[in-house]
């Protein structure tokens, strides 16, 4: 349960970005959370209000976009999406797959009232 730490880090990143963009009040924080990032979106959403109280982000909304795990085949180049973690073998050629997406934990944007 490290979502409080994560929320605080999001807060820092957002505050810096607000400053760099001429200030203002943050309405929404847009976030990309990968399925393999180890972060629980629901838990993050749950702690958000508490984590940002008494910061410049107080009252802002968290908009989470979940990114599914994706895998690519080193041998034939096939791309596969979704929960194939339990069978990480390429459907087309049988080679082992590499994780190519789903580890994201990124602030993608902000909506600011200026």
């Amino acid at each position: 349960m490290h979502e409080i730490s994560i929320a605080q880090s999001i807060c820092e990143v957002a505050e810096q970005a607000v400053f760099a963009n001429g200030g203002g009040r943050v309405i929404s924080v847009f976030l990309k959370i990968g399925e393999l990032s180890g972060v629980d979106s629901e838990a993050l959403d749950f702690v958000w209000d508490a984590a940002i109280s008494e910061t410049s982000l107080e009252g802002s909304r968290l908009e989470i976009e979940k990114v599914p795990a994706s895998f690519s085949c080193g041998a034939c180049g096939a791309e596969l999406f979704g929960r194939v973690l339990n069978t990480p073998v390429c459907e087309k050629c049988g080679s082992l797959l590499r994780i190519s997406g789903g580890r994201e934990m990124e602030v993608s944007g902000l909506e600011i009232d200026q």
Binding site: S5, I6, E12, V13, N21, S37, P88, S108, G109, L110
Partner: protein
């Protein structure tokens, strides 16, 4: 007042990652090989590390050990003769790179070759935090269920090596080693897996040999890189 959409694309853990990269560069420059040990509580990280420190011999390795509270593990590990520092995190369930930076601030990196970081016992959160390590090792004991890798795929997929501990009691607890290996292979194909018992010492030498080979490779790589840079 007007609403404005700003695109930023910034990693949430940017600060942690930057500090971790800084640590990694520092370790590389001084040929210190940093190892991050992660596992659930009670899987035998401390007993394993105690044995590793003892086998590596005095002065060669130092350790940082993370727990929510108490200095017990540091006291236990100090018995190996190595210098050990406890990081008590309070309520935080993982170590962050800033804690490592702060803890080793006054250490001269030329004085030792290995830095072991025993993370807080937790199979979820430590996966997200880079500590500047060269090697991330995930441990699982024979008393845990064989499907742990399937339940916590993130930490296994981000590891460089897996160790199955407490093999001396494997038979008594009905541990299915074949199944455990198969499950690790499912979430991280090709991951090196070691089996050992810190209590009897069985399998320890093999892992230490592997560790030393990894450090040697890094040192050689650094030397070659330094050579290229000057010519």
């Amino acid at each position: 007042m007007s609403k404005k959409l700003v695109e930023i694309k910034a990693k949430v853990l940017r600060k942690n990652d930057e500090l971790a990269d800084e640590l990694r560069r520092k370790f590389r420059r001084q040929n210190v090989f940093a190892v991050n040990l992660v596992s659930s509580p009670g899987s035998g990280k401390t007993a394993f590390l105690q044995e590793v420190l003892r086998k590596l011999g005095q002065g060669k390795a130092r350790a940082l050990v993370g727990d929510l509270a108490t200095e017990n593990d540091a006291a236990r590990l100090s018995r190996s003769g190595a210098e050990v520092r406890q990081i008590t995190t309070g309520t935080t369930c993982h170590l962050e790179s800033e804690m490592i930076t702060r803890s080793i601030e006054d250490w001269d990196l030329n004085e030792f070759e290995y830095l072991f970081i025993e993370n807080v016992g937790n199979l979820v959160c430590p996966a997200s935090y880079d500590l500047g390590e060269a090697l991330r090792v995930v441990l699982i004991s024979v008393t845990e269920s064989e499907d742990k890798p399937l339940k916590y795929p993130t930490i296994f997929s981000a590891a460089d090596c897996a160790i199955i501990t407490k093999t001396d009691i494997a038979e008594a607890v009905g541990f299915d080693r074949k199944l455990a290996h198969a499950n690790i292979d499912v979430v991280h194909p090709g991951l090196p897996v070691f089996e050992l018992s810190a209590r009897t010492g069985w399998g320890m030498d093999e892992w230490i040999e592997w560790l030393e080979a990894n450090r040697a490779a890094l040192v050689n790589h650094n030397a070659a890189f330094a050579g290229n840079a000057t010519t």
